[in-house]
Symmetry: C2
Subunit: 325 residues, 2 copies
């Protein structure tokens, strides 16, 4: 009989649990607030409770449990190291704790890697074997599917492309994330306004500078505000440099872009693509390259966590998924 999979999406705000079938279709889903401020024991009990909510009567019908969680974490040992948005979590062996509770195989993956797997199995990169995924929101995460398999590296740390060093014009070395993620985009506009520049973004937040976020910048830019447009373009150019590194390293057939900031659209993506074409070694890296927005929306972590379990933690080629059940 075809088995089913339990998927957990552990985030700083919400916990979601779901049951999926072998085609990674959602059959049942439940969600609740994480209440991270209550500490790890509370949150872990909540995870167990919500796994039980989606568990079928015959637990033997379940192939395994996949968990998407915020990094840093070690996918090989199943240990959460020190996630910034889960206070009090330090070296917690979440995988083994859940496995001990349910007696099922459990797989733990960082949210960006899991999202990459989801988009490759069932999203924008379906059918592709060489995929680089970036998510741009409050941080910049990334995940890589290399020749049909999730890339983990020697210690499970591979594909941290948001932290690629970028030397700034000042000569200082920064990285992609603090220059191009949402807070950087908002911070750049705020700094310019504080230095005396004019921007219609301030009207959108009724003059309260502190309320400007990346979304505000996007709205102001869409309305033609020159300063906001330049802030997005700057982030796009930096992101483009990061993508050039990804193209040179992995030669993927597709770049998938997720995360709230990428919804800004062409005002971010056009400067990004220009930077890619300006700085890539030659056209053969971009000739048949697709650059697509992520397709799975809020379900990406659940679909990816299920895919993680279905591929034995990324060890099975995604093209074999259909055959495995």
């Amino acid at each position: 009989m075809a088995k089913e999979i339990i998927a957990v999406d552990l985030g700083g705000t919400q916990i979601r649990a779901a049951r999926l079938d072998q085609a990674l279709t959602l059959l049942q889903r439940e969600n609740t607030l994480t209440r991270a401020e209550q500490g790890p024991e509370f949150v872990i009990n909540r995870i167990k409770t919500y796994i039980r909510k989606v568990m079928p009567k015959r637990q033997a019908d379940i192939l395994g449990i996949g968990i998407s969680a915020p990094g840093p974490l070690n996918p090989l040992s199943g240990v959460m190291i020190a996630p910034p948005n889960l206070p009090g979590w330090l070296d917690i062996p979440l995988r083994d704790m859940i496995a001990a509770e349910f007696g099922l195989p459990v797989y733990l993956g960082n949210d960006a890697n899991v999202a990459a797997l989801a988009e490759a199995c069932k999203g924008a990169a379906q059918g592709c074997r060489h995929v680089v995924y970036f998510t741009v929101s409050t941080g910049i995460g990334s995940g890589v599917i290399s020749d049909g398999k999730l890339l983990l590296g020697h210690a499970g740390l591979a594909a941290e492309l948001g932290h690629i060093p970028i030397v700034m014009e000042s000569g200082q070395v920064s990285t992609v994330e603090p220059e191009a993620a949402g807070p950087a985009i908002a911070g750049r506009l705020k700094a310019a306004i504080q230095a005396g520049a004019k921007s219609s973004a301030l009207d959108l937040v009724r003059g309260d500078l502190n309320r400007i976020d990346a979304k505000t910048v996007g709205l102001a830019a869409a309305a033609g505000d020159e300063l906001a447009i330049e802030c997005l373009a700057y982030a796009g150019r930096i992101l483009g440099l990061g993508i050039v590194c990804a193209l040179l390293a992995f030669n993927p057939e597709i770049i998938v872009l997720g995360g709230g900031v990428t919804k800004t659209g062409d005002l971010l993506l056009r400067p990004m693509k220009e930077a890619i074409h300006r700085h890539i070694l030659n056209d053969s890296f971009t000739a048949d390259l697709r650059i697509e927005l992520a397709a799975l929306g809020d379900d990406v972590a659940l679909v990816g966590a299920a895919a993680l379990a279905a591929t034995d933690g990324g060890n099975v080629d995604i093209s074999e998924l259909d055959r495995r059940f």
Copy 2:
């Protein structure tokens, strides 16, 4: 019966051909000058002649022919695209030409990828499954073994880490190779001397500025010349930035450094390692990282070309090599 492998090392100066056994041990080797100025037809005939010299009487005993060649080339189609040091070569289907002549499977790989495979199978990275190899000489090439397999990417272009963009202090974007390869090191010293700086390197070439190469810089630096030391340190720092990108992308267990420039030793490698530690995301990427010089010397291309054939062009896990024969 155990089969043997034919390996070809096509370089701008020399052609080498060899026969190796299943353990990638050299049994016979022949070499000649490439005479690239005679054009492709001449060189290809020479390759065929030298393959015949190492071919056993019973051609059925040969598993296949592996060829290491200068890029750019397409390892998937077996076509040499436009190697700068082989004038007149443009889109030449070398793999199929050699296959048609000998009726054997032929595999073509770029020299840096092939060297990475060699070091992973039989050199400094033997026993490792996650390897990044850099060769620093007149250019900077690289190759990656990811989870036991040669990384090729969608179109065979992966692992071109020498071309990673580096924004300079001026704000201009350069890449690793033109800042850190041999000619860049020599060029930096020459430019400083032309601008009036003093360096003992000039004495080593009897005052003939044009004769200064990276080796001269290395000798002057070893003798304590401050300017030469700084030129090497600068290249080391840039190389370190490139290696940081490689660590973030692939999380390898070992970095192998080949090519003449790396023989300079600590005057290059110490600033390189300092840059790695300064710019890497966190210590977990470097905690158990090994950084080693390449071990195979001049034989690297022949051993790697044989390994390329033994792994069906990089499609077989290197840990299966012993079992395959």
